[in-house]
Symmetry: C2
DNA sequence: GAACAATATAACGATGTCGATATATTATGG
DNA sequence: CCATAATATATCGACATCGTTATATTGTTC
């Protein structure tokens, strides 16, 4: 019950950060990157079953928001999680969801 | 780098939870509720400057996702935060955003 | 520099969600 | 039971974003 949970001056940025986490495919991407540390676009395409263009677009969004880091090596682009708080946030939410499910 | 950051069976639910946090007006509502503990629709309308219908709709979404709790008293409906993890999550993200801003 | 592979971008239709306006519901008081 | 106040719901147009398909870019190899 204190002041300024989300300060006005970063409210829109915060909303955009959360929007990154509001799509199942992006959560799957982050989940995979969390497990394996670093993956190429191809690997992500194979694991998710999504089309390459779709994965590239999601990665572009994630990278634009600094959620994810890109490393180019030859023909391949390797992505990894850049924002370490994302993992904590996901675990918090998932823990809460389990809790709600148990309570019900 | 471990297993199952966001387990498949709750991935869609997690995404929906994050979607609740992905709109500035909803973040403002949660921020106000965090400060004051409990507020009527009217109060939220006044503080945010949004139209009543819009606030009611956002509250409906938030309540549907169990983010927020509703208490009816006479003509008034009082809302308060129901999911305590939301505050932690918002603070994590805002801290990170500050950090990124400082680094730049 | 031509052929090929990995990734990125463009364009498109379908669907979702925003805020605004209008109307319905619910509860109180006279 | 009628008027009024607080809240909820319905509908609408504008705009964003999803996944798909097609194409462009980038880098490697011969």
């Amino acid at each position: 019950m204190e002041s300024n949970l989300v300060p006005r001056d970063i409210m829109h940025r915060a909303a955009r950060r959360f929007k990154m986490l509001s799509e199942p495919v992006r959560l799957e991407i982050l989940s995979l990157l969390h497990e394996r540390g670093e993956m190429s676009v191809q690997e992500l395409v194979e694991e998710t079953g999504q089309h390459q263009a779709n994965i590239s677009k999601h990665l572009r969004h994630l990278a634009g928001e600094k959620c994810v880091k890109r490393r180019k090596e030859g023909l391949f682009a390797y992505y990894s999680i850049n924002d370490p708080t994302l993992s904590s946030i996901c675990m918090l939410v998932c823990g809460r969801l389990r809790q709600e499910a148990d309570a019900a």
